[in-house]
Symmetry: D2
Subunit: 444 residues, 4 copies
């Protein structure tokens, strides 16, 4: 279980002004390219409080550059619209009051056109500023914050994807956003193997020279008992076995809160509100279907199961006699995996894919891309954690309560955005992100 | 207090095929003309469960013609989209299942463009059908239902106005939809006079030859005690006196449910959610402002107060030592008033206007148009009430619980839609329609 | 359909001091006699916000005498506990702040023993005061208020009964409070007959010399169309036919709000929360059972159906092709009925009973006692209504919104408390009072 | 910072039949002695869903012995009442259905007297069974489960205390349950010192021979960075400084969920519902008061602050520039502390007490008793965690989501119930237990 070389395929930061502009433009452009198939009406909808309209994502990521860079650094910067600071601030109390989150879908203005104008306005100023500072040899004053803004926008690319998927799934017309070729017939995936890691002191967290979030440091030691981790993700086919075995009807398999969630949702009106299957699944006479951004598809047994909550992943694990990994267990194992070749947003598919039938035995697969993987680790500060200074300090630290860490990125994550030490976090009942899981177990 | 002649200004039904087509086209066209200043984004929003997106109104009124006329009468009629029957059915259980009302603002498709195509498709078929049936001398088979559909669309024109007003009012940008000239300075309105009606047997309800709703019949006798009714609507200036006198803080002035509403809303987060002023009012350093479809305006003391609930109208009445009229009292008095010259949607102003300073004394004013007037009458069946046959029987009768009757039409009602016997109905706490009130009192 | 003589069996007010003391003691004593079978624990429970603990009823009725009589009239009156004025004020804003209603079941102190001491303390002072004033020939200063207090306590006797029934029904042990002999076998009831009343001007409301509530006056004329009213109450057996015919599954039978109530409650967790049967019914292998204060009993098809809401009574009426009566229709017909021989709380049975099989044809039955009868009349002010002066003015008038009038008293009403003009009022969805109904219909 | 000897004052399990009976009787008797000052009414109330009526605690702890011991081991055991198994099962799905938790306060029967009879019935059988098995040399078959039942009852003793405190605090009469002498005047507490622990591998968890919960094992290694921990608990006086410095108004001090909790509760109706002070505090003209089981008392600045949530403890820590300890940090430090001399339920005071002014410097104080101490550790499985077999496996493991670990016991914990490895757990917003905190910080 050793690895001959450093894992590959992770992002490297831009250094020069030209690299920085290129990365900036590439990211900003990718966001807009993602929106190309959308109708104006699609940009406006908020289908639940957690979801933001695409229009809001487009504006909020722009507001981020305006607020954290232009307003402090661009000479005599004049905001395009003074109200935008209120409308598009997400949660930065240090910046000022915020427009009420659950009402983001209730404002028709600014229009989509005006939001694109806002983007163009800020982009022009940003490029100009980079050049200006570079000329003054002062690019360092903003370089890190620009890179943060780029990473921030990449996170919102993913949210925009998962949010529009939720929006479209509510619509009886079940529209297609991103066309995807027909699936190949299922032919089974390589068998699930247990990969062993020995007890000992390990190091966890980031300590390299590239961009990373404050919550990934400091790098620190953890003593691990020996454990085994699954060689691949759990598939739809495997999950259906759990369902067919009454997995959603046996309280002994569930955490107390999970079972309460199942019970409570069983009293909901609509089938899609029940907590008795992965989100976006629905049953037809021909079997299970699932809504995808390419429209409804039959559930492919070979694909990793996606849109399951922590409660469901945990219940499945108990049913099969295993458990989920901790984030440290996951991170240690990730040293044996590459991001390269992974299924990321770069390929514009936005759906997890089956593990290749010829994937080699004895190695760990599907660690990066496809689905975020639930871990048993509560999202909390690492030893020595220091939030960033200023308003950016609200980025991560203040969410360290009641959430669980997910690892590895998904089919909606850009490849150069992910890292082994990257910590995503959601609530145990959340399902609308591209969430799946792999197993772990103790070693006797 | 007698009237020399029949009140004038009320609608007359189209009889011939040409008249029918003209009225149909006029109504359908007026709806679309109302939407001209709207951006595509504006059509999509549902700012509270009672509100429907403009897009939905446009489609639902079209669905009404399709469902109740074309599908039964047009040879081999093929719906443009089979899902529309589910998406745009409002509440007709006899027609089939309905898309969940509070989620009307969560579907981006069909697009606005597709909805307009739907309208055009149905319009073409409707005109064609009228001609065909006329040629066969069979226009009578659909004439009444077409007129019902026209009146139905006129009701939705009003709802579309009040709904988009609610949508825009939520937006911190406070957009303007219908430009309106600056207000003239307030100069006071004619004094409030009491007009007396003697005790005796009166007749109430509709019995003429023109279109009317089932809930307006049968015409029947009511014995009335002598009463007096106010010569005009209560104004903003008068209502502000009530507010300044602590009207919203004195439980003795309120119905128990009304006071509970005030209390409960005092715990809401946003100022516009408090039940301590008319809807759309907000206070600035310069005094009270109100949001109108022409943007925010200072509250004009001469204008009739609008967007007040029954609870508020009732509390004001108790404060001033009077009461609200019953619907019979209102209808009897309406025999002395004309619709002609009233402030209706026809003038594209969508806001109540002050009573002219030279309005003659001893006569009743502002009965038709401006604001719907709250009455103390619970909305219930008249003696001998028979709901219409078939699904149209669900139009009115099934709402006869917990609602109160309002009379007289508003600035968002088309003039040819209103009648003295017309019964509108809303819940006692509702405020987002153009609702106001006049006073009445017993005679010793 | 004429009646040879005035209906009999209604209460007559006490006039002399001795009569007043006797009625006072009789009423206060009856309240306590009703509580004799209760355990201390039973006095404390509030099973839903509408329900008050028995302990609270005992104290609140005492507070009424203390507040409205002793504190104004008894020389140097000292309340037993100053906090009781806050704890046991129900809703009289003019008296001061009130302890939060839904938390009445959350305070264990004062204990039941202390509440009985409070009753004894106030009783002693009340009797003393009556004697004192009588000696001074000044009994008139309090006589009317004492009679109001007695009637108030009688109303709370009924509420105490319906509340403890609700409390006990929630308990899986289904305790018995008032033992009742086994039911006789069902043998059918006299057939339902239509009794006709002709069109014309009638007088409605109270105008006699005895006690009555402010909401019963002023007596006034109403013009009535001819109508027919049912000779007896609708029975369990008849109601079961409606249920068996899918009455709870057909939206066309229901008011829109009623159907929404059915739908909404179908998503509730417990069977007794569903809106698909009368309250307190439950199905066993042996058929329908109902919880009564004498424990669970098989549903007797001959008994009047009880614990149904307005929505259910209305739906049944529509199903059978009739309607419910208005309160005027009911009151006019009541002139042909006696209270004497009715099924009231006086007999300590607390359950409706079948109409005697030999009840004479052509006459109206079961008008007084057994069950309160739903009418279609919204609870609102009669012409010339004047609320009582002072805090007692909050007794009735402020509830005139969203409630419907019920008539005739029930098996939990004392006989001398009821009158033909008596107006009870509840919300359309309420079921926990002894509520039933009879039919009416228009005459062609 | 070394400790010369093993900490003392922790419980030792009973071994012989006599010891077992004695411990059983002592525990059962202590529960009942705690209830002596209660009135019957006090046993019935449930003031919020988290609270259970005292009556329920008395019965549930009895049900535990009946279900897990008597029904499996006592020859031909006959339950006193078959319904009790449903009524008094808390959450053991493996045992069967449970009576709905939020309705525990809605059932008046069984009465308190019947519950005590139930206790006596089970006690008699339990003592009999211990003797019988001892005679057969088979005491081992139940010994561990009896000890579990005893510990279970001790946990409910604490809950009964915190629940009745919540119940009484809701009552405007603010009753006294346990009389307590007047407080001595505040004279300040020893200064707060930082005690240092060095980085290294430590062992955490239980591995001794005495009773412990499944969640305390397995004992395992953790690598710790160097840290410092506070020598004593944070006091009321210190907490008031935080409040006076605007601690509840500065979002930068709060976790996002904590701030949302503050905001949301600021819209509640009653002062005691606001999240702007410790639970049970209220302000008077004379300053802060707090409700205690001995009635209201002025807030003593020397006492440890109690009834604060994790959110508040965390905000205070951030304000002062520190953080809370992890459970491992706490447990490591606890090796330097004794339980002996601590403030436990044994002294019948039920309120935290100030640290003695002569408490020696350089040592850690108040680790056991007084208040449960919040840690930053999410409640989750230790490596190698194995839930107990059978229904008892539901005791701990299924609650491992969204809760935080608290350590050390409180003034409502029996001394022989606590251990250094003991893990209590509650939600971050919970305040009604005796919860307080001490600080920790990283070492540079």
């Amino acid at each position: 279980m050793t690895t001959a070389q450093r894992p590959t395929g992770f992002g490297v930061d831009p250094r020069t002004a030209n690299e920085l502009k290129e990365r900036y433009l590439q990211t900003r452009g990718f966001t807009e390219r993602m929106c190309e198939p959308m109708e104006i009406e699609d940009y406006v909808i908020q289908s639940m409080p957690d979801v933001s309209p695409a229009k809001w994502h487009l504006a909020h990521t722009t507001w981020f550059f305006e607020t954290f860079i232009l307003s402090n650094n661009y000479p005599a910067y004049r905001p395009l619209n003074l109200q935008y600071n209120y409308l598009f601030n997400s949660y930065y109390n240090a910046i000022g009051e915020q427009f009420c989150r659950p009402r983001r879908g209730q404002i028709s203005r600014p229009t989509v056109k005006e939001v694109y104008e806002y983007r163009a306005y800020v982009d022009e100023k940003m490029l100009d500023l980079i050049d200006k500072l570079d000329a003054d040899d002062a690019l360092d004053t903003i370089r890190d914050t620009v890179i943060l803004g780029i990473n921030h926008e990449q996170q919102h690319q993913e949210l925009m994807t998962t949010d529009i998927k939720h929006v479209f799934s509510m619509n009886p017309l079940r529209p297609t956003l991103h066309v995807r070729p027909e699936d190949e017939p299922a032919r089974g995936v390589p068998s699930h193997e247990w990969l062993r890691y020995e007890a000992g002191l390990y190091e966890i967290g980031y300590d390299g020279p590239e961009f990373h979030f404050d919550n990934e440091s400091s790098r620190h030691k953890e003593y691990m008992e020996a454990y085994e981790i699954g060689s691949r993700l759990i598939t739809n086919g495997e999950y259906i076995e759990f369902m067919n075995d009454g997995g959603y009807e046996r309280p002994d398999l569930w955490l107390s809160l999970g079972w309460a969630t199942v019970q409570e949702h069983s009293l909901k009106e609509h089938d899609w509100e029940k907590f008795d299957k992965p989100l976006y699944w629905f049953k037809t006479d021909d079997g299970w279907m699932q809504y995808t951004l390419a429209g409804p598809r039959p559930v492919n047994p070979d694909e990793p199961v996606v849109h399951v909550s922590y409660f469901e992943a945990d219940a499945y694990s108990r049913w099969i006699g295993a458990r989920l990994p901790s984030e440290a267990e996951w991170e240690i194992a990730s040293a044996d995996a590459d991001a390269e070749g992974g299924n990321f947003s770069d390929n514009f598919t936005f759906h997890p894919r089956p593990l290749a039938s010829d994937a080699p035995s004895g190695r760990i697969h599907q660690m990066f891309g496809d689905v975020w993987e639930w871990t048993t680790s509560a999202y909390r500060a690492y030893p020595g954690f220091q939030p960033w200074e200023g308003a950016a300090g609200e980025y991560n630290g203040k969410f360290m309560a009641n959430q669980l860490v997910l690892r590895g990125g998904s089919c909606a994550t850009p490849q150069n955005h992910i890292r082994p030490s990257y910590r995503n976090f959601f609530y145990a009942a959340d399902k609308w992100q591209f969430m799946g899981f792999r197993l772990a177990r103790d070693v006797e």
